[in-house]
Symmetry: D2
Subunit: 356 residues, 4 copies
């Protein structure tokens, strides 16, 4: 079987070989469970190196878990989390934040999935602060990169952190694709987080080449008080934690995180080039990370949706608006892109000739 290749999701890729090697190396004898092991200790140092010395990181299994545990730790149930309309938190967690943290989500629409202080000023009813009938905003959560492949610069993040703090909110970054944002901006991870004034990060590894593994990172250690218990109670405490820690440590050790993210971003650029070269295709959102969101003629969507083996080649993001989503992964190759580009050209030509 030729393994299928697609642009369906950056979760469709597997793990980078270096990650499997690292796991194998950590698979020696016994180690303390629940994080009392040398690999988890090493990860703590590695996180300090990348996010700053005052940070504390907690490995968890997945992104939902990272987000939910972070929110549960930083809020009370009568409080609200503000996020962008369409944020993963709001539309792709099956209500986990509401159920587990007990909070309400307040959504604010923004261009290309991005929030700004001005949008927040306008989009949240701040007159309700102090009103016992209304959930009280306590946390601002942004995704960097966003769900639609756009990114926040360090300056934009800092402006949001300032805004959040001026309203007594903490700033949380859903960083399932933080590496892609940092790679694009040629910024350090601290530059987009601690240095910009953010408070908590869900740092993603799964989409960037791990088997599985994320970390909740508190950027000021005092915010981490009690989080050991929250992680356990929200079911995110791994017993053989060394196997998550060593993945994250390997990812961050010698630039693997950056190489993987660069590769995915570069492939998104290449794919965007191929798509926009076709008449009638335009980008619904700028390509700033590893996703491409073209608005396409319906016939092209239909024609290209499944590859020759019948595997879905990409995700239909907004059927009404004919927007598709192509995600590039750390393992996406120029050949993958070019093969799709060839199918695309052929489809476009056929369409042209049928019209002619």
């Amino acid at each position: 079987m030729t393994p299928s290749r697609s642009f369906l999701s950056d979760n469709a890729s597997g793990a980078h070989p270096a990650i499997l090697e690292a796991i194998a190396q950590a698979n020696t004898g016994h180690a303390g469970a629940y994080g009392a092991d040398p690999w988890t200790a090493a990860l703590a140092d590695r996180i300090h190196e990348h996010f700053g010395p005052r940070t504390r990181a907690f490995p968890v299994f997945n992104g939902t878990g990272a987000n939910v545990a972070a929110i549960a730790s930083a809020t009370h149930p009568h409080q609200a989390v503000i996020c962008a309309a369409g944020a993963h938190l709001d539309v792709d967690e099956c209500g986990a934040p509401e159920h587990i943290a007990g909070v309400k989500l307040l959504t604010v629409a923004g261009d290309h999935g991005k929030l700004t202080p001005a949008l927040l000023e306008e989009g949240v009813d701040w007159t309700r602060v102090g009103d016992e009938h209304a959930s009280q905003p306590a946390l601002l959560s942004i995704s960097n990169a966003t769900e639609v492949g756009t990114i926040y610069t360090a300056a934009e993040t800092a402006a949001l952190a300032d805004f959040a703090h001026s309203r007594n909110l903490l700033l949380h970054i859903d960083g399932a694709r933080l590496a892609n944002a940092a790679a694009r901006l040629e910024t350090s991870l601290a530059g987009l987080t601690s240095d910009a004034g953010a408070d908590i990060v869900s740092f993603g590894g799964t989409k960037n080449g791990l088997l599985m593994g994320e970390a909740v990172i508190f950027l000021r250690e005092e915010l981490a008080a009690g989080f050991d218990f929250v992680r356990k109670q929200t079911t995110q405490l791994a017993s053989k934690m060394r196997f998550i820690s060593v993945q994250l440590d390997t990812l961050l050790a010698d630039g693997l995180w950056l190489d993987n993210a660069h590769q995915a971003n570069a492939m998104a650029d290449r794919l965007a080039g191929a798509l926009t070269a076709v008449e009638g295709i335009e980008l619904a959102h700028p390509v700033e990370a590893n996703g491409v969101f073209p608005r396409m003629p319906g016939h092209l969507i239909s024609e290209l949706e499944f590859d020759a083996e019948g595997n879905r080649a990409f995700h239909i993001w907004d059927p009404r608006d004919r927007v598709a989503r192509f995600m590039c992964s750390w393992d996406t190759t120029p050949e993958d892109v070019d093969a799709f580009a060839a199918r695309l050209d052929e489809g476009a030509r056929r369409a042209f000739s049928s019209r002619a």
Copy 2:
């Protein structure tokens, strides 16, 4: 560094080499996320083979997650889960069942951690059924093997299933160490679960040689309705699920689960032999799975608690009663046991001569 070896926990061991190999083999190209992959499909068949054709299995990350998601799916918040006093569910989940499923736990004490219909009849106030002021029992959860290393036979399980059903309860089995029970009893997994009338199993893999991975198994498929959503909302849905599924499938494919469990059990027997050969040591609980719980003279506990490298060698289970806990793992060797036995003999001799 010589990797440390201990009897501290069956989570202290790593993964079986065959598990890492299987992961490497599954690490080829792209696959559908969230279980839409061939390895998860294969696991479904494998689970049918071992647990019966009407079962539905859902891979999850860890045991807390398996238990909590199972309970959340099978109960309403105004209901109660009955379990043994000292059950992992009650004392080692940091209140996750209460917080996430919203239920109350009702505990019943039993000899060696085991429940019986008679104990349940007596230990639960059944007069409260139908009383709106009291949480209503809806689920009986037993652990097989138990927290103290004892096991339920198929007949004992069937009696509990009958009792549960006669009270309109479902029977859930926390099977973090189900393999050890089945190995000891030379019973199939179905024999201890489906065939015995149980309804839901948390089937453990992590303690039996996986990197990480468990499964919630509904033994009658109609019980699984809605569980997709519950798994997601309780943060237990893995994106690259193939890497959990392939571990579980490999464990169950060619008897690896049984070999691993047999080994751990046999080492527990060997260790129990060494311990009880020492005057003044007796077993607090029968050795039926992979744990040994000796009641020991205080000076021996002090002397043996840490090994030569300063690593903790075992867990002190009940300091007041001087009961220690030794867990054997799939990778525990006769040499490990004998090395400890040598330390034990030396300690005992020294004690004897100092008294003489």
Copy 3:
């Protein structure tokens, strides 16, 4: 002290004298607690009379409690409740539905706070039904009357019930002001609920002349299964329930509910007439129940906001859009309205002359 009179809220009024008399009459000797009393039994019959023979009613303390308990009973945490943008449920319960029922609210904007099948068809992403990453719609909740004083006819309700059922949703009516809607439409309570196909009603008494008291009414008795427990667990079970039941029974016995609602509605009409007679004032929403929402010149709002004694006379609903909210109550009199109208005229004249 002259008791203050205002249009601030229909919670600002007290209880109808007949209600206090009824309480006094029920205050004789002992009665079974938690509803095992003759007044609660009588209420059951009374509810059958008004809502139909297959209904089951549960007295509760307040509207938040009624809504939250109803939702908790009718949903699972992984499900969603659809309601109008701006619904009390969404913006005035401090996140109680999310925290206590665990659900997500999905809001749909509608003209004058009203939903229609077409709006629901368009405003909810039905493609997510069956997608484990998304909260699954299970309940449609409408308010009749709405938060902005508009009402649903029986036919409109029936259309929504049909829509809901076609999507496998239940229809819940937040009827904190259901009496006002029925009074305006000259419809029975059953006409707007059971007969229209609704499933659950939060029936309000507090705003219509009670001290306090609401009822969760299941319009098909099978929906009430387990609700005794849910009411208790959500803290809404009154021990001396007779004192809530007798209020509700008295309200419904001889048309008091209708007289009170008619009075409040009529005063809203009278007030609307006075307001719209002033140049520059227009109604932001049609006056269909007991609330009036005028868009007013800023100077008039400032001038009239507080009465001579410094009491707030009405609520500023939307400061940006200069919309005020005037609520009439069962005890609002023509004199109350006319007194305000006089202040209004004076304010308007002054404004005119200052411009002249």
Copy 4:
């Protein structure tokens, strides 16, 4: 109909006439909703008078609500509340603390329902403090009077407060019957609460002569931060709050609380005297408040369980141990007691002669 009289529950009684009068007097015109009214302001002063100047009181509907909101405010879900085995909190709230506050309850058995520092020292596994797998004790909740009619003195309460604070716990008092304890001890309410070092009180009114109404009282105002929101979110915010506040204020104004509690206590004494005069009846618990718990011959229970009209006369507390529960209320009269005593004597005589 002669109103039935029983010893079934202190919730079976109605409201004191002075309470209804006070409600009628507060029922004049309009008042601010949600506590912005003069009666609620007056209550704040009254509470200061009785509980001390640094206290903050929040009227709520019922005892379950008071307890649950207090706990939700004072804990995080990963924490635990310690209470006596058999506490109302544990066995009579249908799991509301677990579901709504998310916490685990840890129960400790004590003689006659009372806890002591020594029992707590022994009965809670304090070695789990700091262990992420275990719910962390954060609140000690005692009931004064207890469920079995015993009371804590000021000194006993102070000892528990000291113990609690030494363990970094807050001390909560479930004071559904605090008046009965204070009356018996001839202590002020502050003496049993603030002065003894307690932190939060659920102060009961319903059982002591109100229609309905309790208050959550924070004995140090800084503990009340955020409670407005918690009260709302837990569905315990009354819109026409004046009608709860005026009841509580009236209860506390001129010693009505004390008179009512004295009466109930005195009737319990009288009844205990009548019961223990009968051979074969002994008290299972000392009579210190308004409840009497006799252990009685089975035939007497059967004979007396229902009165001539077929109404249940008392509650069977523990059928296996033949312990009944008789609750006296603020309105229990000597005649009520003597009438029962007469039935009792007759029953005992009949039994004696049948044996003779």
